[in-house]
């Protein structure tokens, strides 16, 4: 009898604790899903030694790769490790000076969406760490040269 009463004493606090854990988990899941599902990557214009060029929201330079087949990227494996694609989880957002009509996306083999501009899939270069750096400009790697893009979406070949 005594043991039954003791067991009953635990039921309420245990139920309350269990319920609060479930509520917290559900809230966290919603917050996580809401934070990642709809955020589109921002593309902006930045200043560099090559003039005004396409950059990401932190000012890091973006490049295009002429061997890409239209909007279809051919940069995978080691190439994608050195030249990481600019990934978005929603419709890309145009910053000041960026033409929203030129922005688009292309689906990569792993199902991720890569941002395109004027039909060119966009990439970072692993060596660019600070805004304004263009250390990948003109490098011939993985089968072709890599170029920065102007706000009009044209390749800049100098530098």
């Amino acid at each position: 009898m005594a043991s039954t009463r003791t067991n009953k004493l635990w039921i309420k606090p245990l139920t309350a604790f269990g319920a609060s854990v479930v509520v917290a988990a559900v809230a966290a899941a919603f917050a996580f899903a809401g934070g990642t599902a709809t955020s589109g990557t921002k593309v902006a214009i930045g200043n560099s030694r090559l003039g005004r060029i396409l950059v990401d929201s932190k000012g890091i330079t973006l490049y295009d790769f002429p061997p890409d087949k239209g909007t279809v990227s051919v940069c995978y494996s080691a190439c994608a490790a050195i030249w990481p694609p600019l990934i978005t989880k929603g419709k890309p957002v145009a910053g000041p000076g960026v033409r929203a009509s030129l922005l688009g996306t292309t689906k990569r083999k792993d199902g991720k969406l890569e941002v395109t501009y004027n039909g060119h899939p966009l990439y970072y270069f692993v060596s660019d760490r600070k805004p304004g750096q263009t250390t990948g400009q003109g490098l011939n790697q993985f089968g072709g040269p890599w170029w920065v893009l102007s706000p009009a979406g044209k390749e800049i070949h100098r530098g």
Binding site: Y76, A81, I82, F142
Partner: protein
């Protein structure tokens, strides 16, 4: 044949000793052989780890990647050094110096392999020195495989050589 005919009792004793000692001796020989096979396979594995890093550094443009590129080059150089030492006939320098060099080389190789393995797995999920891997490509798979083999083979080698080396050093100290 002559002794067999001349000293039957002594022969029986020798045969008895041989029967009693054979299993221990055979076990020791097997352990020695296993240790040597593990040493050579471990050496080849760590050399392959180095080869993959060299290929990535010189041919896959990792020389352009800050910090990680330098670590690839250092991994290649370190792997080449310990791999060559593990293959070299260093026991000619003497039992204790030779085994000590081999044990240190094996430890170094395991250190390189585990360091590479852990770094690689981290960079698959989060940037490491600003660099993040792009999935499990062939070079990554091969490196993980050779890292695992290096650790396994040279771990076996150390388990066999280590106790023997400790005993040899202790005996040498007592002899002084």
């Amino acid at each position: 044949m002559a002794s067999s005919a001349g000293h039957p009792r002594r022969d029986r004793t020798v045969a008895l000793h041989a029967t009693v000692r054979a299993p221990a001796s055979v076990n020791r020989d097997r352990r020695e052989a296993t240790g040597e096979i593990a040493r050579y396979l471990g050496a080849v594995s760590i050399l392959l780890v180095g080869a993959v890093h060299a290929q990535q550094y010189y041919q896959a443009y990792f020389s352009f990647v800050p910090t990680i590129g330098t670590l690839f080059l250092l991994s290649f150089i370190g792997a080449a050094i310990v791999g060559v030492v593990l293959l070299a006939p260093v026991r000619r320098l003497g039992t204790i110096p030779g085994e000590l060099i081999l044990a240190l080389a094996a430890l170094g190789a395991i250190g390189i392999a585990l360091g590479t393995l852990v770094s690689l797995l981290i960079s698959e999920y989060t940037p490491l020195f600003g660099f993040m891997e792009s999935g499990y490509r062939l070079a990554v798979d091969l490196t993980l495989l050779f890292d695992g083999l290096t650790t396994a083979f040279l771990g076996v080698f150390l388990l066999i050589v280590g106790p023997r080396l400790v005993r040899a050093i202790a005996t040498a100290r007592r002899a002084r």
